[in-house]
């Protein structure tokens, strides 16, 4: 759904352009999107992610894992994992994105490269149900306690339905939709179309 180009990447002396060309030489032509001068997004096949990240960590200035998160693309039946790798000396970040299957959600752990990946992976396992084999603390409760439903950050988890089922409301409160409330109070015409 994204439009990939790197025409707006300045080729002359931009360290971002240099790292993109080095990645292309080494790993093949991944789609690249330059979001802003200090943020470059790469879409990478799942098999290439560990070699790419190890190479970035050991042989380039991209040494910090700033963030690791997941996006649930329910319509495409896929999870997108986003590794945000930063080069503190260049002040440039790479968003390395991979897609994993939603049914068999599993990705390789990057705990060996960055220590704090264990917490990010622990949270993703709890909130999305993505399994990272080899990562410590997989399945150890992190934020939730005694959770028995599906992982709550998945798109198909309905928080309102869960909430109505488990947390009763105070008697007297009817609904929360301001549109209905205002419509009832001021007449349907007074609000929105």
């Amino acid at each position: 759904m994204f439009d990939f180009n790197h025409s707006n990447l300045d080729e002359n002396g931009n360290p971002g352009a240099e790292i993109v060309s080095r990645i292309h030489d080494r790993f093949g032509n991944f789609p690249v999107h330059v979001q802003k001068p200090d943020l470059i997004r790469l879409n990478v096949p799942q098999t290439d992610i560990i070699p790419l990240l190890s190479w970035l960590r050991t042989e380039t200035p991209f040494v910090q894992l700033t963030h690791l998160t997941a996006i649930d693309w329910l319509e495409e039946d896929e999870f997108e994992l986003v590794y945000l790798i930063t080069a503190p000396s260049l002040c440039i970040s790479l968003m390395v994105c991979i897609r994993v299957n939603r049914e068999k959600a599993e990705a390789e752990s990057v705990f060996n490269l960055w220590l704090q990946a264990e917490t990010y992976e622990q949270e993703l396992h709890e909130m999305f149900g993505i399994h990272f084999p080899g990562s410590p603390r997989q399945g150890v409760p992190f934020i939730l306690e005694g959770w028995q439903d599906m992982p709550p950050m998945r798109r198909d988890f309905d928080t309102v339905e869960y909430c109505n089922r488990t947390h009763p409301e105070r008697p007297g409160r009817e609904h929360h939709d301001s549109r209905i409330y205002v419509g009832r109070k001021f007449g349907e015409k007074g609000y929105l179309k």
């Binding site: 939730l144 306690e145 005694g146 959770w147 028995q148 439903d149 709550p152 988890f157 928080t159 309102v160 869960y162 909430c163 488990t166 947390h167 009763p168 409301e169 105070r170 008697p171 007297g172 409160r173 929360h176």
Partner: protein, 221 residues
């Protein structure tokens, strides 16, 4: 509990709350044996009343707030104790341990994980004890009405003596809430703790509905 006053509809402490049915079996002694020196009460009714009044006055004048910041409202408790708002002039001070505290401020939303610790801390506090609930999220969920992890109505799980509205309530609102609480204590109407002991089974049932991995004892002494 205060009666609802139609002339003061803004007074949220008078809102009808969800109360437990009468007649549940108490698990803990609910009589005066809970208090230190309770055996010395004289028998004459008038004198007994006078002693109770004096006792309530003492209780209202020394409120010890448990140091448990359960939500965002905790950030206004520290300014409340510094020289600008100075809660010490009302006889309110902090207590580090539940064993030394008699006021529990529920400062905002409660996630189910915190609710378990709150119940345990609340039961460890010696009687008589009072609960002050801060913020709209304790009253009806507030802005977290559709969150899967926070409870909506606090008084289903523990008795609340004073609700303070706002998100978040100012320190002045907190002082006003404490003022209500003191008046109620002096009148002998702040009996939420008594209600909790009388209806422990009903509260326990409600608590077990949201806390799925229940491993607390029957009553944390």
């Amino acid at each position: 509990m205060r009666k609802f006053d139609p002339d003061r509809p803004w007074d949220l402490t008078t809102l009808p709350t969800t109360m437990a049915p009468k007649g549940s079996k108490p698990h803990a002694p609910t009589d005066d044996r809970c208090f230190l020196g309770a055996g010395d009460v004289p028998a004459a009714p008038k004198l007994q009343e006078a002693v109770a009044t004096i006792k309530n006055w003492f209780r209202a004048s020394s409120l010890n707030v448990l140091a448990f910041g359960t939500g965002c409202g905790a950030i206004e408790l520290r300014p409340l104790s510094t020289s600008r708002f100075d809660m010490s002039r009302f006889g309110i001070s902090g207590a580090p341990s539940p064993r030394q505290a008699n006021v529990f401020i529920i400062s905002g939303y409660l996630s189910t994980k915190t609710l378990k610790r709150v119940i345990r801390s609340y039961e460890q506090m010696p009687n008589p004890k009072w609960v002050v609930a801060l913020g709209s999220c304790t009253i009806n969920g507030g802005m977290y009405w559709d969150s899967y992890n926070t409870i909506k109505v606090l008084d289903l799980y523990m008795p609340v003596d004073v609700y303070i509205t706002g998100c978040m309530p100012r320190p002045e609102a907190l002082i006003a809430g404490f003022d209500y609480l003191m008046q109620d204590i002096k009148k002998g109407e702040a009996n939420g703790w008594h209600h909790y002991l009388e209806n422990l089974e009903w509260y326990r049932d409600n608590q077990k509905k949201v806390i799925t991995d229940w491993d607390l004892p029957n009553y944390s002494w």
